[in-house]
């Protein structure tokens, strides 16, 4: 069964708690650990903040879905080549903490997917087996 929620909220940090709460609700269904939820929230939050900086957005669009025991968070569409570059470029160095590394080390996988003129970013996090 696919369970998904699509949200459109004002692009402002004050909307982040709402997004995190919804994310948390879905994470409960998957019996995520606190740490897994925090990791996914961190990745989504950092990406949204980066998008806010590079896109000049008025609203954030986020779709969250439970797919095959994993939580998928799809953000976008975005158009900024700069943001795309930051997400697709390998980390700036072996010891460079950039957006790419931060997201890569908090979710199981993430991908930049073409969408018309722009692109979507998909974050995937599954529950670690005990």
């Amino acid at each position: 069964m696919r369970e998904s929620i699509r949200l459109e909220v004002p692009a402002a940090v004050t909307a982040l708690p709402t997004l995190r709460m919804v994310l948390g609700g879905l994470a409960v269904h998957l019996d995520f650990s606190l740490e897994e939820l925090e990791d996914l929230s961190l990745a989504a939050t950092e990406l949204l903040r980066a998008a806010l900086d590079s896109e000049g957005l008025e609203s954030w669009s986020v779709e969250m879905a439970v797919v095959d025991e994993a939580l998928h968070v799809v953000l976008g569409p975005y158009r900024s080549p700069e943001l795309r570059g930051r997400l697709q470029t390998a980390p700036g160095g072996p010891l460079c903490l950039d957006l790419c590394r931060l997201i890569g080390s908090t979710v199981d996988s993430f991908a930049v997917e073409d969408d018309g003129d722009g692109f979507m970013v998909r974050l995937v996090k599954g529950r670690r087996q005990a």
Binding site: G24, S33, R49, A50, P94, L95, L97
Partner: protein, 306 residues
């Protein structure tokens, strides 16, 4: 060899080559005092302990002996822990309270007046308690959070600390809800509101009254960890990371470069998972404030490599 040289040769606390300027509150008349032979309070009688305190306080205040100061801090940390424990049920993390209490202890040691003839314990206790109380006073909810959620948050901190070692992993939201007698939704809400909680920065200067303004609180706490130092060896203090203390840099390194989980970091560093989580969030926030975003060229490296 002069009598003075002779004394130094037998002195377990070598004055030579120590950094820092001596703080001379009095004349050097007690210089001839012999060092008590046992370097800690454990197993000592009250008189002997007091003698050792006085000896170390003189070494520090009359000679600027930083090692004597460090020894006093180490000796009195159990007192700080004992006092911090009294306040641990108020929802603050015990480790945080110990750190704050340690600031009170350091202030007491630094401000101790040898001429007043009081024991260090007597002088330090109100300083430590005062610092902890000030911490509670200064620390508040930055947004209005219902009392019930604040209480649940306090309960959750406790429950998480209990469950992590028991389960040997991070608890699930459902497990937290069950242990805290709350619903998962309430747990999520309480966890989210905890992000609205203010905390004093451990980077803040502990002494705005003429102390070392550049030193953060963290610089005054505990001895150097070998692992932190190893990390330091590989770290170029680029502008962003220079704002983080050694422990914060170490934790970011473990999390984002070594790939350790928060629980694993907690175990390695010796703090709780919630504390690691808060430190990571706070460190990223600091970086963001400092450099705007995490990809600002040249400032996001935790090593010399760019």
């Amino acid at each position: 060899m002069t009598p003075r040289d002779d004394r130094r040769a037998s002195d377990p606390l070598d004055l030579e080559g120590l950094p820092g300027q001596p703080r001379r509150f009095h004349d050097d008349e007690d210089d001839a005092e012999a060092a008590p032979s046992v370097p800690a309070h454990a197993g000592r009688g009250r008189d002997e302990s007091e003698k050792l305190d006085q000896y170390l306080l003189r070494r520090y205040h009359l000679h600027g002996d930083r090692k004597a100061r460090e020894q006093l801090i180490t000796m009195y940390l159990p007192l700080v822990r004992s006092l911090a424990r009294r306040y641990a049920s108020r929802g603050e993390h015990f480790d945080d309270l110990v750190q704050v209490g340690a600031i009170g202890l350091i202030k007491a040691i630094d401000r101790f007046d040898l001429s007043r003839g009081v024991e260090l314990t007597t002088y330090a206790t109100p300083n430590i308690v005062g610092e902890i109380k000030r911490y509670f006073r200064d620390k508040g909810w930055s947004v209005r959070v219902p009392r019930g959620l604040q209480e649940l948050n306090i309960r959750l901190n406790k429950v998480i600390d209990e469950l992590v070692p028991k389960l040997q992993r991070s608890p699930t939201i459902n497990e937290l809800a069950e242990a805290a007698s709350a619903t998962p939704e309430e747990v999520l809400e309480a966890l989210e509101t905890s992000q609205a909680y203010n905390s004093i920065s451990l980077q803040a200067s502990p002494n705005s009254e003429g102390g070392d303004e550049d030193a953060g609180l963290i610089d005054y706490l505990g001895g150097p960890e070998a692992a932190y130092e190893t990390m330091e060896d590989r770290t170029t203090l680029a502008p962003g990371f220079a704002k983080l203390d050694a422990r914060e840099r170490y934790i970011l390194h473990l999390r984002f470069f070594e790939g350790l989980t928060q629980s694993q970091i907690a175990e390695r560093v010796g703090i709780s998972q919630m504390h690691v989580s808060r430190l990571i969030r706070r460190s990223l926030e600091k970086l963001r404030e400092e450099i705007g975003d995490l990809d600002h060229p040249g400032v996001s490296s935790v090593s010399g490599e760019q």
